[in-house]
Amino acid sequence: MDTIIKKSTTPDALSTSRLQGFLRWETFLILIVFLVCVMNSYLSPYFLDPWNLSDATFNFTEKALIALPMAMLIIAKEIDISVAAIISLSSTLMGLVAQMGAPVYGVVFVGVLVGSACGLFNGVLVTRFKIPSIVVTIGTMSLFRGISYILLGDQVVRDYPDGFEFFGQGYVYWVFSFELVLFVLFALLFYWLLHRTTFGRYTYAIGNNPTASYYSGIKVDKHRLTLFTLVGVMSGIAAVLLTSRLGSTRPSIAMGWELSIITMVVLGGVSILGGSGTIGGVVLAVILMGLVTFGMGLLNIPGIVMTIIVGVMLIVVVSLPVLITLYKNSLKHSK
C-alpha cells in the first residue's frame, strides 16, 4: 500500500526510477522549514517566542484551512478561484443575520451553510453544464463578491453577538489558539481522507485519468461535486474565523486570498496538472510560507520585496524536480 501511495504522489511526467535517491518532497520542505527557523532566530531576537509564533499563525490559518480541500480539488484536475469571494458572501450574510439578532451558533451556522451552498453551486455548474472549472469560478468569483457589494455597499457590519470573537481571537490552551487547533484537526482529517480512504484514492485516479476512472466505475462527476462542496464548506468555516478575528464585515474582506491559497497548494508539491500531491506537503508549505513572511515582517522588509521573494521561492521550488531530472538525464548521456 505504501508503494502505491508513493507512486501516485510522483508527477506522471517523471518516472519514479529517476527520482530514486532524490529525497522526497516533504523531506525537502522540512529541511527548508528548519533552515528558515534557524535563519529567522539568528536574524531577529523576537522570533523564538511562543506568543510571537502563536500570533504569526493567525496570519495563515484561515487560508490554510481552504488550502486543504483545494489540494484535493487540484489533485482531481479541477480548481476553484472563487474561494475568497465565497468568504466575502458568507461573511456578509453572517453579518446580516447578526444584525437581525441571531445568536452565536446561528451566525456560525449561516456562515458554513452559505459557504457550502456556494461550493455546491460551483460544482453543479462544472459537472452538469460541463464548463471548465476555471471558467466557472472566474465567473462566480465576481458573482459572489458582487452580491456582497449589493447587500452591503460601503457599509460595515460590526454588531456580532458576544462570544463570537472566540473563534478568531480565542485560545484553547496557553498559546494554542482556537484557529490553530482547528487547523491541526482538519489537517489530520484531510490526511486521513486523501491518503487512507478509497475516496482519496479515487481523487488521485480522476486526476491522473478521468476517462479511465469513469470506465472503472468511479462516479467522476459526483466525486467532483463533493470536492467542490468540500471547498465551499471550508471556505465557510474560514469566513467564520476571519469575520470573528476582524470583528467586522466589509464586502472587500479577504480580497486576493485565492492566489495565496493556490500558492500554498502548489508550493506543497501538488501538481497543478492534477494527479499528485500530499496533504503533508501542503501543511509544510503552509508553515513555510507563514514562517518566511513572519520572519520578513519582523525585519520590516517592505511588502513588495516580500511578494517578490515568495514568487521566486515558488518558481524555484516548483521547477526543481524537473531541473534535477534533466540534470540526471544529461549525466547519463555523458557517460
Partner: protein
C-alpha cells in the same frame, strides 16, 4: 542546491534591513494604508524630520502592498512581536483593525491613528489633519487674502460647493458663515452646487461670474469645484479679476496658481501630519502630556477631546512659492 538558493534569497532579504536595535531608542512604527503612495511618502518625510529633531527615535515606515485591512493586521502582528514602542496608523478599515490594535495596547504599545482613524477601542488618540471650524475659517481667510491681492479693502465672494447633501461641505459652509463676523469687509453673495462633477461645477462657476459682475472671489471647498472654477475663470479671460480659492490638490492646481487664476489655496500638509503623528507617539511613550493636551513639537499642542480626537492645525496654505514642491507629492 535548493537550500543554497533559499539561503542566498534570505541573505539578500536581510540586506534590506538595517538590523541594529539600540535598546534606548524609541521605536515608532508609521503604518500607512499602502506603500508607494506619494501622500504617505511625504508623511514619512515628516516623521523622519521629527526623528532627527528628537534624536532617540527610530522610525519603522511600513505598510501592505495593497490597501487591505488584512495586510495591515499581518503587519501589526509583526510589530507587536518586535515590541515596538508605538504604532501610528492610517487605517484601511476603521473596525477590522480594532481587535489587533487592542491586543497591541494590551502588550504595552502606544497606539494612535492619524489621517484615517480607527474605532476608539483601538487607539489612544486620533489625529485629524484639521477641524471643521478651522477649515471654515481658513476658507474665508483665503477669500480675504485674494481681495487684498486685488488691492481692494472690501469685496464679495460666492461659494461653489459639491452636492447640497454633502455632509462635510455643508458643515464647512456653516463654519464659514459663522466666521464671517471676523471679516466685516467680506460679503457672501451666493452658494451654488456643482455636485462634484467637473462639467456641472464649470457651468455653475460661469453662471456665478455672469450673475454677479462685481464678484471678486469664488471659494470652492471641494477639489473638483476649485479646479473647474479656475478653469472657468481662465477660459473667460478674467484672470486677475476673479480669484478662485478653497480646498484643492497641489498636483491639480499648480498650473492655475502659475497662470494667476488662483492666488492661494489650502489643504492639509502630509509632511506636517507625519511629523505630528511621530511627535504624539513619542510623547505618549515618554509619558508627556495629559489626557486633554499632548505636545507635538513645532506644530504646538494637540487638544484632545473626550473621544480621543484632536485636530492638528489650520489647513496649510499653498501659493506660487511652494506649490511646485508639493505638486509632485499629491
Amino acid at each position: 542546491m535548493k537550500t543554497k538558493l533559499i539561503t542566498v534569497l534570505l541573505t539578500c532579504a536581510t540586506l534590506f534591513t538595517s538590523g541594529a536595535y539600540a535598546a534606548d531608542q524609541v521605536r515608532v512604527a508609521l503604518l500607512v494604508k499602502a506603500l508607494g503612495i506619494g501622500f504617505f511618502e511625504a508623511a514619512y518625510r515628516g516623521a523622519e524630520e521629527a526623528s532627527k529633531e528628537l534624536g532617540d527615535v527610530k522610525i519603522i515606515y511600513t505598510g501592505p502592498t495593497s490597501t487591505t485591512a488584512e495586510g495591515q493586521i499581518e503587519i501589526i502582528n509583526s510589530l507587536i512581536a518586535q515590541r515596538v514602542d508605538a504604532i501610528a496608523v492610517s487605517a484601511n478599515d476603521a473596525d477590522a483593525l480594532v481587535p489587533s490594535l487592542r491586543k497591541a495596547q494590551q502588550r504595552g504599545i502606544k497606539v494612535i491613528s492619524w489621517d484615517s482613524g480607527v474605532g476608539k477601542a483601538g487607539r489612544q488618540i486620533h489625529l485629524n489633519p484639521s477641524s471643521n471650524s478651522l477649515i471654515g475659517e481658513m476658507n474665508v481667510q483665503l477669500a480675504a487674502d485674494a481681495i487684498k491681492v486685488k488691492g481692494k479693502s472690501s469685496g464679495t465672494f460666492a461659494i461653489l460647493s459639491a452636492t447640497p447633501t454633502s455632509t462635510n461641505q455643508n458643515i464647512w459652509i456653516g463654519e464659514m458663515k459663522k466666521s464671517l463676523s471676523k471679516f466685516p469687509n467680506l460679503t457672501l453673495v451666493d452658494t451654488v452646487y456643482g455636485d462634484d462633477l467637473a462639467d456641472k461645477s464649470f457651468r455653475e462657476a460661469t453662471a456665478l461670474i455672469k450673475n454677479y459682475p462685481d464678484l471678486d472671489v469664488i471659494v470652492a471647498p471641494t477639489t473638483v469645484g476649485i479646479l473647474a472654477a479656475a478653469q472657468a475663470v481662465s477660459d473667460m479671460g478674467l484672470t486677475g479679476k476673479v480669484y478662485v480659492t478653497g480646498l484643492g490638490l497641489p498636483s491639480e492646481l499648480a498650473g492655475h496658481v502659475h497662470s494667476g487664476a488662483i492666488h492661494s489655496f489650502a489643504i492639509w500638509n502630509p509632511i506636517d501630519l507625519g511629523y505630528s503623528a511621530t511627535m504624539l507617539a513619542y510623547n505618549l511613550v515618554k509619558g508627556k502630556g495629559s489626557k486633554t493636551e499632548v505636545p507635538m513639537g513645532r506644530m504646538g499642542t494637540l487638544e484632545v477631546d473626550s473621544n480621543g480626537d484632536g485636530a492638528m492645525a489650520k489647513p496649510f496654505v499653498y501659493d506660487a512659492s511652494n506649490v511646485d514642491q508639493f505638486s509632485s507629492i499629491f
